[in-house]
Structures are given as C-alpha cells and as structure tokens.
C-alpha cells in the first residue's frame, strides 16, 4: 500500500496543555511540545537533524526562532506559514526522500489567544482591499457566503448542518483536553443567535494557545524509535486555485475533488478503507464541503447523511474525533493529526475507534490552497 523504506513514519507526538498561556511566545510553546514529542519518541534533541516549523498567523514561530529556543543545529530547516500540519508533513516527506535530513521535528505554537491577535482587524492588502471596506471581515464572512450558496445549490438545511458542530461536541466530551465540553443539543444550537448569518458561534473555531510537535523519520529507521510507527501512505495538494474570493470555484471549492481523488490514488486505498476523517475546521463549513469533495458523499446527499449521525461517536465514519477546532482547541489542524496518530496507535482511550487502520486528514489555507494526507498503521 505505498509504504517503502523512505516513506515518512511518525515516531513521536507531543503537545502542551491547551487554553491560555499568558506571557509565553509561540516559539516557547512549540518547543515545549517538541520536548514532549522527543520523550514520546524516546530520543534526545541531539538525534534531530531536521526542523520544519509552522508560523502562527501573527508571524512568530519561524525555524530560526524555534531552533534558537531549542538549541538545535539541524542540517535542514525551513518554515511554512500555512503548515496546518498537512503541508508540513508533505515537506518532511520530501526532505526525507532527498536525504537532506533523516530525523525531523515538526512544530507549531500559538499564543494568539492571550496575545489578542486581531483576526478580523486592520487594513487588508491586495484583493482584500476591495472587500474589507464593506465590513466583509473575519473568516466567518467568507464561510457564511459559502454556506449560503451551498444551501441554495444543494439544499442542506440548517438542522442538517448543525450536526457538524453537534457531533464534534460529543467527541470533545470524551476528550480530557478539549476546551468546550458542555453538552449541546439541537435545541441549544438553534437557540444560539447568528454571529454572521447563516453561522452561529458553535460553527466557528475557538481561539486558544498551545503547541504541538511531531518527530518523523523514514520507515526503515522507525523501529529504532517505536514499535508503533504511523506511516504517511498518501499525500496530495493543490497550490492555489484563483487569487480572490470572487470565483464560483473558490467559494464552493469543487477543486477539492481532485485533491481527494489523488490522495486516495497515491495511497492505493478506497474511501471504504478509511476508519476516521479529520478536517481542519476554522468553521463547520470546512467539514461540510470537504466530506463531500473528498468523495464520502455527494453535495446533495451530505445533509441527510449528516442527520443520520454517521460522524458521531459510535457512527460508521467518525469525523474529528478530538472535537476539532470547534470544540477541542485552536491548533490549526495540528491536533487533528495528533489524534489520528493516537487512534492508529490504539491509544485514544474513550474515543478509540475499533481497529482503526487508516485515517485521512484534509486542510486548506483560506479558500485557495489545500493538502490531504492518509495515515496508516504498520500492519494495515
């Protein structure tokens, strides 16, 4: 199934407490998570020869800062400003295949909650300068436009869409580190006022502080670190699909179908082989669109399918079993991969899916750039 000696193997995972970390920098949180990941992999930092960091939106977290903070002197290092862990994993796979490094740390840290980063503020550059002056600010605006159009074309109802936030909340209740664990019923959801109609607070990511790190190496070295390596069996990306939020395909993101087709083809797996789906969720519109475009349902059928509770605990296609950014923590998708690895290791405690062998993770940078990965356990 596409696992060769130079396939990327995840051999260590680490995370900080999630929530608020007053006075900490993004790099400090990234390095705290790195220390946890090193311990999980059973190595010290001297073993690392590669570093791939992901900056937070506010900017902090580049490779020079993280390497300095952690006292690393890698043979290879770089920074992605849109890592979402997905692009980061793909970059690491390419570095491993090139031979420039063999044991790589991936990091992400954010202090954007206590630092009060203005996600909807300021003067927008470029294309944004023709929409921000109208008050079209914050990701909730774009997501609201996308959902309104989606519902017009495909008929998804408000109650059907609610199941994304509701199912992730049920998963979060099984996750000790999740920040939003209060029970939420359909009635509770529908009683919430609109933040940006058609979206409610429950449909939009929280903002929290924290860090996540992974240690990766090649499959042929993995047994030196762990007896439970998790492999990157498939990957696919699209670089950009149009530079502005003013094209049909940008709003509806139909181009994700191609990323879905290619990621399954690269892993030589079918949709039916997937035990859980992880989708980076700045808003609940992302899982709605991506579950359809990855090929699990048609856009017309996804609404009724969500209402059948397949994505909930006990369902046959669990989605975001960590609770996602809507209910667990704001980690730009990094905790989605962390959770996928836990599930494949059989270490997800109350959330454990029976005999999880393969998971898919999809993420995008805004509405124009996407990545998808398939992770599998060694015996699958």
């Amino acid at each position: 199934m596409g696992i060769s000696p130079d396939t990327l193997a995840i051999v260590g995972i680490g995370r900080t407490a999630q929530g608020e970390h007053p006075g900490r920098t993004a790099s400090s949180l990234a390095v705290e998570a790195l220390a946890e990941a090193l311990a999980d992999a059973g190595i010290t930092k001297d073993r690392l020869d590669g570093l791939i960091t992901c900056k937070q939106m506010a900017g902090d977290g580049n490779d020079e800062l993280v390497a300095t903070t952690a006292g690393l002197h890698p043979k290879y290092s770089t920074t992605l400003d849109y890592g979402t862990c997905n692009f980061s994993l793909h970059q690491a796979q390419m570095v491993l295949r090139s031979g420039m490094a063999s044991t790589i740390a991936l990091t992400y840290g954010t202090n954007q909650r206590t630092d009060r980063f203005p996600f909807a503020g300021g003067r927008a550059p470029g294309a944004g300068s023709f929409s921000t002056p109208y008050g079209f600010a914050h990701v909730a605006g774009q997501a609201g436009m996308a959902l309104q159009r989606w519902r017009h074309l495909y008929g998804t109802t408000e109650e059907e869409f609610a199941h994304i936030a509701l199912s992730q909340r049920e998963w979060a209740q099984l996750n000790p580190i999740a920040l939003f664990k209060n029970p939420m019923t359909m009635e509770d959801y529908l009683a919430q006022p609109y933040l940006v109609d058609p979206l409610r607070r429950a449909d939009i990511t929280m903002i929290s502080d924290g860090g996540v790190s992974l240690i990766v190496t090649t499959a042929d070295r993995a047994s030196e670190f762990t007896d439970r390596p998790i492999y990157l069996a498939g990957m696919a990306q699209v670089g950009a699909t149009g530079s502005t939020f003013t094209q049909d395909d940008t709003v509806l993101r139909g181009w994700l179908r191609d990323v879905g087709d290619r990621v399954f083809e690269s892993a030589d797996l079918d949709r039916s082989d997937i035990d859980a789906v992880y989708i980076q969720d700045p808003t609940a519109v992302w899982p709605l669109q991506m579950l359809a475009h990855l090929g699990f349902q048609t856009p017309e059928d996804i609404g009724p399918w969500l209402a059948e509770r397949h994505t909930y605990p006990g369902g046959n296609l669990p989605v975001n079993t960590n609770g996602g950014q809507l209910s667990e923590a704001y980690m730009w998708g990094w905790l989605h991969i962390f959770e996928g690895v836990q599930q494949l290791r059989g270490a997800a405690d109350q959330r454990q899916i029976n005999d999880a062998r393969a998971v898919v993770y999809a993420s995008t940078f805004a509405f124009v750039k996407a990545a998808a990965s398939i992770l599998v356990r060694g015996d699958s």
Partner: protein, 136 residues
C-alpha cells in the same frame, strides 16, 4: 460603519487600485480588460492572469447583476464596523466577474439570484464605496 473605518480603508494611491476608486467617485463601476486576450479581470492587478500580458484598459461596466450569495453580520467582529446588522453581498455582474459590497436594503431582502444595481456611497471626499440595492 463608524469613524474607525479609516483604519481599514484601502490605499487609494496604489497604482492598480486608484483608477477604480477614482471612477467610483464619479459614479462608475470599472474593471480592467486585457488588451491581448480581452479577458475582464477582478480584482485589479497589473498582470492578466489568463495570458500574463501587462497591457490593459479600464472599462466602464453596467453596474448591474444578480446576488450570488450573501451573509449578515450580527456581531461586531471588526471595530471599524459597529453598525450591525449589515448585509454583505457577492454580486455576479452581467459582464461576468463577482464583486463584493453591501446590500443597502438590509437582511430581509437578501436572496440569491435577485437583481441588483450599484449604489455609490461617498464616505469622504476621497472615498466612495460601491454598494448595491435591489433593481426592481
């Protein structure tokens, strides 16, 4: 919007954007058309994304189209825009491109495929925004 709107207004001296904002001040909606492949493009940039030419002209458009999608802000997410609720529309112009503005009629009138026309809203001597009203 309120007095803080100045903090989010675009740089109208930007060479790509200035002709658009100058025309809006005169009550005209304009976009760039490539002189080589004739593609009409939005938002403004000096290079044609279709053929990569940098030869273009500004064209006056009809200012009419239909609502492609809409959303209504009920919470103040940006301190420059405290006048909630307000409705933002994406309008598919008769000439093709999709442009963003406010629907001045308000949330109850926002419906996909409704016909709309430009409404030019001067907010200062220098700056006129391109909004929309229902075109009945």
């Amino acid at each position: 919007m309120n007095a803080d709107v100045g903090a989010v207004l675009p740089n109208i001296e930007d060479p790509q954007a200035a002709p658009f904002w100058n025309a809006a001040r005169q009550g005209q909606l304009t976009m760039q058309r490539c002189l080589i492949c004739r593609e009409l493009r939005w938002t403004p940039q000096d290079t044609c994304p279709s053929c990569l030419s940098r030869e273009y002209e500004w064209e006056v458009l009809s200012g009419k189209g239909k609502i492609y999608s809409h959303c209504t802000y009920y919470r103040v997410l940006n301190p420059a825009f405290t006048d909630v609720p307000y409705t933002v529309v994406m309008v598919e112009l008769d000439e093709g491109p999709v442009i963003i503005g406010r629907l001045l009629n308000g949330p109850a009138e926002a419906m996909i495929d409704e016909r709309v026309a430009c409404a030019f809203s001067a907010i200062s001597d220098e700056m006129t925004l391109v909004n929309f009203t229902l075109d009945k």
